[in-house]
């Protein structure tokens, strides 16, 4: 299989990009794929803590690009999965430390090693974003069903079209079925209709996401949580499978108690 570079972008910060990159990466690796996740948010490194790999960092993305280490030395192997790696962002540098062509070169080298390269784009539409999409074969745009996140996602989708990186695929994160039912949250159909792009995943609001990041254990490894299942479904769709979208109904008290760990 030719390896694929997939970038997750959003425009607005805080919509769940880093959590998604971690979970999609882990979900692909749990399906026997060789995966490297790259933290593109130089200066605001976070993918390492979400994956629980912060104590293993020796070299980072900027070290590889500036030739202080070999590519393999900057690839931190996951504790749980054999073929899952992280290339962390540099914490003491900024976005100008690397260029889009650096990213293309790095990803070309990585393509020899793994099946999937998943890049976590920083928020915004400036240099960091341009770096993150430079090597992408496919871009997943992430939004929340919320007015400012949808507006920013639309900007990013437009920019991707202009850069020849479109059409983007859409992930809607933090959908609250109870609020949707009450008419106080945009529906999946509303968001897809507004943004007019293909949908690749819908992740329900799930408190297990916080629990998982507290522990540094991505929840797509946990088959019981709805959000974890939704990330697994995105991984399967990336691999070319046709997977129906989860039925998202408001949970009753009993289900809420069962879902809590």
């Amino acid at each position: 299989m030719a390896s694929k570079v997939v970038t997750v972008a959003s425009g607005k910060g805080g919509v769940g990009k880093t959590t998604s990159v971690a979970n999609i990466g882990v979900a692909l690796a749990s399906r026997g794929q060789r995966v490297t996740c790259i933290d593109g948010d130089i200066g605001l490194r976070n993918l390492d803590v979400v994956l629980g790999l912060e104590n293993r960092i020796v070299y980072d993305l900027v070290d590889v690009i500036e030739g202080r280490c070999r590519l393999r030395q900057a690839m931190i192997r996951d504790k749980r999965l054999a073929e899952m790696y992280l290339i962390p962002a540099a914490q003491t540098r900024d976005k100008t430390a690397i260029s889009p062509s650096d990213m293309v070169r790095l990803c070309d080298e990585l393509r020899q090693e793994v099946d999937w390269i998943i890049i976590d784009s920083p928020a915004g539409i400036e240099r960091g974003f341009k770096n993150a999409i430079a090597a992408a074969d496919r871009v997943l745009v992430m939004t929340n069903p919320e007015i400012s996140a949808v507006r920013d996602a639309d900007r990013v989708i437009g920019l991707l079209d202009a850069e020849g990186k479109g059409p983007a695929s859409l992930i809607i994160n933090r959908l609250d079925p109870a609020l949707v039912k009450r008419g106080d949250m945009l529906t999946v159909e509303d968001v897809v209709d507004l943004l007019a792009v293909e949908l690749i995943g819908v992740i329900p609001e799930d408190e297990n996401v916080i629990v998982a990041s507290n522990k540094g254990q991505p929840l797509s490894l946990d088959g019981r949580s709805k959000a974890g299942q939704a990330f697994q479904n995105i991984a399967r769709r990336l691999m070319g499978e046709q997977v129906p979208f989860l039925e998202l109904e408001p949970q009753n008290l009993f289900q809420r108690l069962l879902g809590r760990k």
Binding site: R151, G158, L186
Partner: protein
Amino acid sequence: MAWFFGRKKSANSAKERLQLVLIHDRTDLTPSELEALKDDLIDTISRHIEIDPTAVTINVAHDGRSQRLVADIPLRSVGRRRGREPGRAVG
């Protein structure tokens, strides 16, 4: 107070507001620029054919992610135009 009359669902307001905002974000065209474009259009067309300037509407329509300017410009009918010829229209 609004709930007394049946509260409007906030998701509907969000969708309607986003529809408008996205049109202007995508075209980089503000409502006042669109209004100026409409005035220019009326001036130009009026030089060639008689139209009803008050009935002209101009909007941005979208089909997927592609956008189109849609102008609706009603023409004054020949019959009505005759009726307004000087000397006959008055009196």
